[in-house]
């Protein structure tokens, strides 16, 4: 797990273009996701936020794009595999498998670790970390919206992902669950993950956001983010995003 975190270089997507039925929905010249940084991506419905995240996660293919990971620039076919292995995409309403909470959290670990005992240990630790220990044996389908959201975040966290892309994570849950989710996001960032979060309003996320971007008609621009930019410079992290 931790070997992924040792690589402290950003994931960079350049010249990302995507058309649907002849209409350009995405035309981003440069999009950078740096470790231990949280980017808030704002934009109207249909501005292309989800499309950009899905491409960055390797789930959808763009018409064209160049991707730099670990300092090497790759064509899409090679990059897609790399993205799939390093980036976790988080649906607006997360999908939990029809199984127990513990099984859901163990899901990704089964492809990364051999030992069942080690998996079990890590799952238990994660459940404690997130305060979900009492739900371990419940069927994930029986949880409330906020609980599902947290289980999904823990499921991602145990994999120590390099990049986590969250599509409107706060839109479908109540205030209490929102606070807990933000808390988990903060811990993920602290553990070194590069985060991109989409949404309409950033207020609830303000404490964790370092950078604010705006996506309009498929094009990225830097939003007015004195506070966020300041915090980034304090941290001395590499530049997150360069627009043109």
């Amino acid at each position: 797990m931790s070997n992924l975190l040792a690589i402290d270089t950003p994931v960079v997507l350049e010249g990302v273009r995507k058309q649907f039925a002849g209409r350009t929905v995405l035309d981003v010249s440069r999009f950078v996701i740096a470790p231990s940084c949280c980017t808030f991506l704002a934009g109207d419905n249909g501005a292309g936020k989800t499309t950009l995240l899905r491409i960055a996660a390797g789930l959808d293919a763009p018409d064209q794009a160049a991707v730099t990971i670990d300092g090497c620039c790759r064509d899409w076919a090679a990059a897609q595999k790399q993205l799939q292995g390093n980036v976790i995409y988080f649906h607006q309403v997360p999908y939990l498998f029809d199984s127990t909470v513990a099984d859901n959290i163990a899901y990704g670990l089964r492809f990364a670790m051999r030992s069942r005992a080690a998996i079990r240990q890590r799952v238990d630790a994660a459940l404690d970390w997130a305060g979900l220990g009492h739900l371990a044996e419940r069927n994930a389908r029986q949880l409330s919206g906020g609980e599902r959201q947290r289980v999904a975040l823990v499921r991602a966290w145990v994999l120590a992902p390099r990049v986590l892309l969250l599509d409107e994570p706060l839109s479908a849950i109540d205030a209490h669950a929102r606070a807990q989710t933000v808390d988990l996001i903060r811990r993920l960032k602290h553990d070194g993950a590069g985060l991109v979060i989409t949404g309409h309003q950033a207020e609830a996320l303000m404490p964790v956001v370092d950078e604010r971007l705006h996506l309009q008609h498929g094009e990225l621009s830097q939003a007015d983010t004195t506070h966020a930019a300041g915090s980034r410079h304090q941290r001395g992290a590499p530049p997150l995003v360069l627009v043109n």
Binding site: P94, F97, D98, Y107, F111, L159
Partner: protein, 232 residues
């Protein structure tokens, strides 16, 4: 009427007394049809998965073809297998005609389109996020495929039960390619056809009762499976 009630009484005597010939026939029926469904199901479900998840030219015609093939009468399947396995056919050298393997082949072909169509319906109804979540959490494609299948396991089980129901009661293909040989390829449906042609209604009714009980059991199982699927 006298003959119906008399034959029915005799039939239940045959069933309860454990008539060996009758139970051999029942055993052959189950062994052949179970093997057929076990052979057909994995491939059919994978095909259904590809049809539900991949986008490629010819996908829609293929789906239509599988839907249409469900309606092919068993005798047509039987004739096809017969011509393939006959000594004058391309696979005559295998000497498979009039064996259980020939019956299994016929039944595999019979239930395959049904399995594909029903499994496809189940997989199609599944949220696309299931596949994407599995992939983004690091599952290799084939493991992600198993995960989505597990998510719709009740739908797939219902498909298997429906497929088994079709072939266990099928007479046309089994009679043609199996040959209805006593103790080897005589199963419940072909035995019923034979006993009726002999005027031995009791045996026919007894075997019919086994099929009826099986149909009831399968339908109840199907109902329970669907109930569980909806609950979850």
């Amino acid at each position: 009427m006298e003959s119906l009630s008399g034959a029915s009484r005799e039939a239940f005597y045959l069933l309860l007394s454990g008539d060996p010939e009758l139970w051999t026939v029942v055993g052959i029926s189950f062994s052949v049809s179970l093997r057929a469904i076990l052979i057909a199901a994995p491939l059919a479900i994978v095909v259904a998965f590809v049809l539900a998840h991949a986008r490629f030219p010819g996908r829609r015609p293929m789906l239509s073809a599988f839907n249409a093939l469900q309606a092919v009468p068993a005798v047509v399947v039987g004739l096809t297998v017969y011509l393939l396995l006959s000594r004058s056919g391309p696979f005559g050298n295998l000497r498979l005609l009039f064996t259980q393997n020939a019956m299994i082949l016929g039944q595999v072909l019979l239930c395959f389109p049904l399995l594909v169509a029903l499994s496809h319906a189940a997989l199609q109804a599944l949220d696309r996020r299931a596949w994407e979540t599995a992939r983004t959490l690091g599952a290799p494609p084939w493991r992600a495929m198993l995960t989505t299948m597990h998510e719709v396991r009740f739908g797939l089980l219902a498909a298997l039960i429906a497929g088994f129901g079709r072939i266990i009661a099928e007479v046309g293909s089994s009679l043609m390619v199996g040959g209805n040989i006593l103790g080897a390829t005589r199963n419940i449906p072909t035995a019923i056809a034979l006993e009726t042609s002999k005027g031995e209604y009791a045996q026919g009714i007894a075997l019919g009762a086994v099929l009826l009980a099986l149909a009831l059991a399968l339908n109840m199982a199907l109902g329970m499976v669907q109930g569980r699927g909806e609950m979850a």
